[in-house]
């Protein structure tokens, strides 16, 4: 990867640059955050001409390393007002890496109301006016783009929600089966919409495979690395069998499954939406309980979920979505949730933000708790069509809270809190509060150690050790997010020493360098601090590193625990 591609949407020009020395050795999140921090004015309007949308494959993208297919997107977030990185699987990361593109930077903004598409090949970057696919859902769009350019073409796109610049808008990435992977959080789809790019298509025809500097060393490290993924019970057994939805029963048992808009930690209907039930349903209908979101995935936590008639309904059907529409909205019908997932993928709405939003909307009386059919209707006919109610709901949880004067609004830095109650699993609460991304479980997944006993055990109900746990996980995550690796490699990495060492060996063999574990930690630290600096300059002060007030005075059953960290205890997170 030796070039930076800049696309200026103000004058529709493109520029190819060599990689500046300071960006050498950076990939994924480290690179998107560096570019955003260096080039985006922190107080700019996130949907204005001065924000930039950056796509970057990871350090190991394009290689034969297992699970190295994540693509990062970064920008100032219109949802949080701070820096944002979000990543997804699919085919785009590998293609960009093969094309030698270390980062694709979209700048400026058209002054007219036209829509555009960007086509990337070995020979050219082409910006074209797009009329045909404006308004199209992502499923249709991916099919049409692949009909236009060939089945193997990579697609990065926004649905109608992104076109309408709603704050729940995600960016969709086509996977190897032309299904949808989501750069979900922080409203990055609205940023892409503000650039008026409906889709980016990538054709890597004629590019050679990415060749490591030291082939044999890479191969050996990759083999060892892959073995650790298979050897660990979470990445080797739990996730492949049940998908991430394996967590429903586990979190319910732990009393940390936020239910009915975060008023309980247990859901009576948990069995109906559990990974076990999903697995049985998929098998009974002839779907596939295992599926990978990118070539080279060894974990295969995705699935192909069919409806009662045996027709494809959804894929990448995640625990957080199922929790959010399930326990949080009290919907017990997994088919309704799967259909909602399908529609969210199609219209391009982040399933976490949207599900948290529906919990708040139900509390506001907009619809009834448990009404899955109405959720699907509102997704399709209100949000997807931008009706006035759709404009309320499409703004996310905090927006609905403000619209209706609701106090119990589970957000941090304006972004919805996912799937794990911070009162009952305190380590994740620290991650939610302190994370540079707003509430985001993936930024420091303490569930591993608090609940799954991966990387040791820290009692989820005690404050002891949580700040350290969240800090260490966030540092490690910032580094992993820079490699192009799926975050689930963290499970073996926390328990099997060879996982991390072989990962570093792969990077060293790929680039002919000699990183140590300390270098990786230092990278993670520097990414977090860079992001934090941007946030402070954007006006997200330490007072924004807090959970919403209601967690401080509402105890959650069954443990009847409240959130009880002092500001000083939380701020110690940044002592590194």
């Amino acid at each position: 990867m030796d070039k930076i591609v800049r696309i200026n949407m103000t004058d529709r020009s493109t520029r190819i640059e060599t990689v500046p020395e300071a960006w050498a050795g950076l990939g994924g999140r480290a690179l998107t955050s560096t570019i955003v921090a260096n080039e985006v004015p922190p107080t700019c309007h996130a949907l204005g001409p001065n924000n930039k949308l950056v796509f970057a494959p990871g350090l190991l993208s394009g290689t034969a390393a297992a699970n190295s297919g994540r693509i990062s997107a970064g920008a100032k977030s219109p949802l949080t007002g701070g820096i944002k990185e979000s990543n997804a699987g699919g085919t785009a990361a590998k293609m960009l890496a093969k094309l030698g593109i270390q980062a694709l930077i979209i700048e400026g903004q058209p002054k007219d109301d036209e829509w555009y598409s960007v086509h990337v090949t070995k020979n050219a970057i082409t910006i074209a006016e797009e009329k045909e696919l404006v308004g199209a859902g992502n499923y249709c769009l991916i099919n049409q783009v692949q009909a236009r350019y060939g089945l193997a073409v990579g697609v990065i796109a926004i649905g109608p929600v992104g076109e309408m610049k709603m704050l729940t808008a995600n960016i969709s990435v086509a996977d190897p089966d032309s299904r949808i992977r989501s750069i979900g959080r922080g409203g990055l789809g609205a940023v892409m919409g503000s650039k008026r790019i409906k889709f980016i298509s990538i054709d890597d025809t004629g590019t050679p495979p990415v060749m490591p500097k030291d082939g044999p060393k890479f191969k050996e490290a990759a083999r060892l690395f892959a073995k650790t993924l298979l050897d660990h019970p979470v990445s080797g057994q739990g996730l492949p069998t049940y998908g991430t939805d394996v967590l429903v029963n586990i979190l319910n048992e732990a009393g940390g499954l936020p239910t009915r808009n975060f008023t309980s930690g247990q859901f009576d209907g948990h069995d109906k939406i559990s990974g076990e039930t999903m697995h049985a349903t998929i098998v009974a209908r002839g779907g596939s309980p295992t599926h990978g979101c990118h070539a080279g995935c060894q974990i295969q936590c995705s699935q192909v979920y069919l409806d009662k008639e045996g027709k494809y309904l959804t894929s990448g059907f995640e625990y957080e979505t199922i929790w959010g529409m399930g326990a949080n909205c009290c919907i017990e019908d997994l088919d309704d949730i799967a259909e909602a997932d399908h529609v969210m993928d199609d219209i391009g709405a982040d399933s976490i933000e949207t599900a948290v939003m529906f919990g708040v909307a139900m509390e506001a009386g907009v619809l009834k708790f448990g009404d899955g059919k109405e959720v699907v209707r509102m997704l399709r006919d209100e949000i997807g069509k931008g009706t006035p109610l759709g404009r309320v709901l499409g703004g996310g949880a905090a927006h609905v809270g403000r619209s209706f004067g609701i106090v119990r609004v589970p957000v941090v830095k304006n972004q919805g809190i996912p799937a794990y109650d911070p009162r009952a699993v305190k380590g994740i609460g620290v991650t939610y509060a302190m994370g540079t991304m707003g509430a985001d479980h993936t930024s420091g997944y303490s569930i591993a150690t608090n609940i799954l006993n991966v990387g040791g055990h820290v009692d989820p109900l005690s404050k002891v050790g949580q700040v350290e746990l969240a800090r260490n996980l966030q540092i490690a995550t910032a580094a992993i997010d820079s490699t192009g690796m799926c975050l689930f490699i963290a499970f073996p990495a926390l328990d099997i020493p060879e996982c991390l060492s072989s990962l570093i060996d792969m990077i060293n063999a790929r680039y002919g360098i000699a990183l140590t574990g300390d270098d990786v930690t230092a990278l993670g630290k520097s990414v977090l601090k860079l992001e934090r600096q941007f946030n402070l300059a954007a006006g997200l002060s330490k007072e924004h590193d807090r959970l919403p007030e209601f967690f401080n005075y509402e105890a959650i059953p069954p443990h009847n625990v409240m959130w009880d960290f002092t500001p000083e205890e939380l701020d110690a997170f940044w002592d590194f």
Copy 2:
């Protein structure tokens, strides 16, 4: 004034306390801000149980001092997220003062869904369940409450917008003619709604007049003070004749009349909505071009505006409202704007926030620029009834901006920028940026010196002297807002030395103390710093002391000027 009344809405208890020593000598804004800063957790949810809503008459309320009838309300604002004081005329300030109530503090929040009213008399504070008037507009409500308790009863109330906790909600105060004065800004009506109080009625029967400690000295100072109001051309001639709407032609001439959602500084239709036109219209229809918002007002900038059939339409028809619906929304029919003003008073929506919001909504294509009939319909049938579109619009300018992904959103700290373009009148821009209240012209009215040549002249188009001007005006305003005085006394106070000295003499004679001009300045400084401290602790860092980005890159005609202060220049505001 010797007591503090606390009303706890959680358990519907009341408590009467003696005034703490630290609060002696504080009134109006100084007192509401002190209580909010001392007792409200800065990071609490503004609509949750831990916010408090404080009402306080000013230091001179209840006396015979001219223009001393303003009542202050304070709380954490659900709109800005910071501290808020807003004040209005009407009869309530005088009545509270006569009842000896220095502050009325509403705490807590009912856990049920009932509505309540509060009745205040010499003998008791009574909280009662209220069913009959729930949902009523303010005009009907005031009539009904006065039918219940007597025509002379004071009323502080919220309309449907406050009941629905929309962020544009104001608090209405009945004036001597049972018409409506508004505690307009910052969504304080939503805070009152969150306490589930529909109205507070005040009966001062049986209370003696407020007697100054030194009657003769007070009388002499009051006479001199009143004379300065009459002697100054703005308070003695301009405002009484044309009302505040006298400013339309003046600001248009200066190129600082924000037009079509802040894209020009001049409005072709300015003559049709000017104070001169309004005056002629009122006279022709047999209305009254002069009217006072409280007993003892000598400026009489209000009016009684009749419709074409000679029926009462509105009163307190202010420049900022007429600008906002007029130039900003390109509505040229003064009757449409007057009807919109009537409806906003009735449903209880801040006319500035609402007008700025409509400018953004028109830019978003929700309705057409210039369509006054549709504005009135949306006020009545959408916002007033809480339809989905009403929930979008009722959230204010920033909320509509977020709903539709609009970039040109004129707000500071989430609050709409009023009536004076900060690029063409740079002193007011500094006030908007730095004010503790969010964008608020009344917090440091530089127009006086930039445009009206009151208190000297500072070139509105140059940066020179603006920070000092805005700072000095904000300090003085914080002090004036603490006296119960109408802000328009600032015009003579800036030009006629006897105005301020007689004001201080009145306070000294009222309380038997010996304040100097320096003491008053010190009070203003301490109020601002206290408010700033609250805001910082609430998460409003210096990055929030900025104008929206578009002012930095969009030049406004006719002067084609941009906003060009550096962060450092602005931050120097706080060097005092």
